[in-house]
Amino acid sequence: MQEGTVLPAQQVNRDLLRSILDPPGWFWPVVALLGLIVLVAFGAAGYMINRGLGVTGMNRPVMWAFFLTNFVFWIGISHAGVMLSAILRLSKAEWRRPATRAAEVLTVFSLMTAVLMPLIHTGRPWRTIYWIYTAPFVPYDFARGIWPNVRSPLVWDPSAIFTYLTSSVLFVMVALLPDMAVLRDRTTGIPHRIYGMLAMGWEGNSRQWKFQIIAGILLSALILPVFVSVHSIVSWDFSMTVSVKSWHSTIFAPYFVIGAVHSGVSAVAFVLILLRQVYGWQNYIRHEHIDGLARLLMFVATAWFYFFFMEVIFGFYGREADEIALRSFQFTESPWNIWMMIFVGSTYFLPMAIWLVRPARRNLWIMSIACISVNIGMWLERFLIIIPGLARKQMFTFDWGTFRPSPVEIIIIFATFALVTMLMLLFSRVLPLIPLYDIKEGDILKTEIQIGRRTVPATFRED
């Protein structure tokens, strides 16, 4: 009945700290390889910044393309962390325990990666200092009277993203305190001092636990509105654009948020499967956890499909010539129609078919395929929103265009995936990606009750 055995605390420590205290041999070669990919991309970006944005495939109707697609994609991935940690923590779902830390860390790193995209997208990154005055600790340029235009969604954007970044870093740090203390006690020399500093004098007395729990719950509740606002504001970058018919849709905010949750939770499931395989955490990331994520994803995916359906049907609803032209480009002209089919199939129908079958949900290989498929689909979703809308903007048919990415863009896009993977791996080298104390707490609260002749798993409730 009960999956997984309750392990003694020492065993939990030993297993979960293996990635830090006893790293596997493949670690540095893999990091070096990923680092090489990232370096190549830095080279490509440097070349682009040196020569000008002309080296990309962007052109007059299609002024936003791969970089912005990738930006929205990574912002979307970053929504998993809060979705899982905060909502599942507030709803006291027991199966959240091993997933929270990985999700939160993925949030932080994917947000950082996402922020890189608009910076290089402008072509002259050093000028973006005038843009990010809304970021924390960046002073306003009072002296020269240069103010950001608060009416612009592009000013709302950095405000929301930096708030989210700050609060999710805080969220991770609060959750890390007890584990930092564990590491402090198991290291010597300089690492010991660094962990000691980060643990902020954690002793594990009941007063500290109480504050840590209260802080966790408060942050969960407070971060939820931030989380919703971030992707809503990203969507408003598009839906405030009156000239692009397919963007100017009232549903964009919730549609983007649910899409972000969809891709983010899939990404977390994939990361958990990877962690289980590479660090041998079979006892912690169990089939029931992946199964729980898959069942959550079934709901999220269907909700996403509903919003997608609304977005499309109200595109046709207007019976306006310009929007019909845009939609027929999107849905009927090759190669866009093929991408469209791949997108809908891989975002909804393929993974849904997998998740509906219980053995498939519990097969890690098949689950990985479903999760990757969702993310390919969600990347294409953003791409298929951004490009056709711009390529068929208004009825000036003389100005219609299309888009073809250049190698520079493709290299940079691929490297962002390497970058996030590398950062995650490096994080796992210094801090545990599965919360030690949360696992132990779950084990303590676990119990069983006897109903008739059967033993049923049960948990103690704290309220």
Binding site: G52, R60, R127, I146, S152
Partner: protein, 262 residues
């Protein structure tokens, strides 16, 4: 600096009946405003700079076809969609009714270009270059834009300023509609147009050449009520452009009706 400037509200009227699609305006604009030379490559990449461009549409089916031309430049909308979306105020509306771009504020988000329904904003994808022989032709009154900057038609604001300076300083006159009207402030495209299809003047000037068209279009929302041939591009967007187009009067319309495909 001109001190006692009156508030102008500039406007342009484009008579499509007179436009022959000769592209003289395009060339004039090119040399007046320091636009880089459009090469074959830049057209193929769809990155040509044409602050004013002639769009060509075919009407009817071959062989029974007619070519239609429409010059499109920045419409200097009163309610410009490009303005609110810029995060750094690089584009704004000045008190003369024109939409101006501040080059050294622009950071290159290109949001304004996305939100422009007329697609008249141009991004400097490359550092602009001129052949050696053209080094000395650059207009000293106009900034040379570097890469990463958005640019667009300015209604030749440098010519307007020079007109004002001439009236006030050199001729010692007082700035008003009459004196400015006599100075005949002309953007390069208007000056170059061989058929006088383009007219540029102050809308505030009661007796000026553009006033009656603006009055007519502003007062009558429905095309049927208008006494002139005037209309604005994409009127349903309510951007209120300061450019008015006059409909083509076709003496010999196509018999098969024709479609407006591109």
């Amino acid at each position: 600096m001109v001190t006692n400037r009156i508030n102008h509200k500039w406007g342009m009227v484009v008579d499509l009946d007179k436009c022959t699609g000769c592209q003289a305006c395009v060339v004039a604009c090119q040399s007046e405003n320091n636009l880089p030379i459009n090469t074959k490559d830049s057209f193929i990449q769809r990155r040509a700079y044409e602050w004013i461009r002639i769009e060509r549409y075919w009407e009817g089916e071959y062989p029974n076809v007619k070519a239609r031309f429409i010059p499109i430049m920045c419409q200097h909308c009163e309610n410009a969609p490009c303005e609110p979306v810029c995060p750094v105020f690089a584009t704004y509306h000045n008190d003369e009714g024109t939409n101006v771009q501040i080059y050294n504020r622009c950071i290159g988000t290109r949001y304004c270009a996305n939100n422009c329904p007329y697609q008249v904003r141009f991004f400097n994808w490359w550092e602009p270059k001129w052949p050696k022989t053209l080094r000395n032709h650059l207009n000293t009154d106009v900034t040379v834009r570097s890469r990463g900057i958005m640019e667009k038609c300015s209604f030749c604001v440098q010519r307007i300023r020079r007109g004002e300076l001439t009236v006030e300083r050199q001729e010692g006159g007082k700035l008003d509609h009459k004196t400015m009207g006599e100075r005949n402030v002309l953007p390069a495209c208007v000056q170059a147009c061989p058929t006088s299809a383009l007219t540029f003047a102050d809308q505030g000037d009661e007796t000026g050449p553009v006033r009656k068209y603006f009055d007519d279009v502003n007062e009558h929302e429905h095309h049927g009520d208008r006494t002139t041939r005037g209309y604005r591009l994409l009127e349903e967007m309510a951007t209120k452009p300061n450019v008015i187009y006059l409909k083509k009067v076709d003496q010999f319309p196509l018999t098969n009706g024709g479609n407006h495909g591109g």
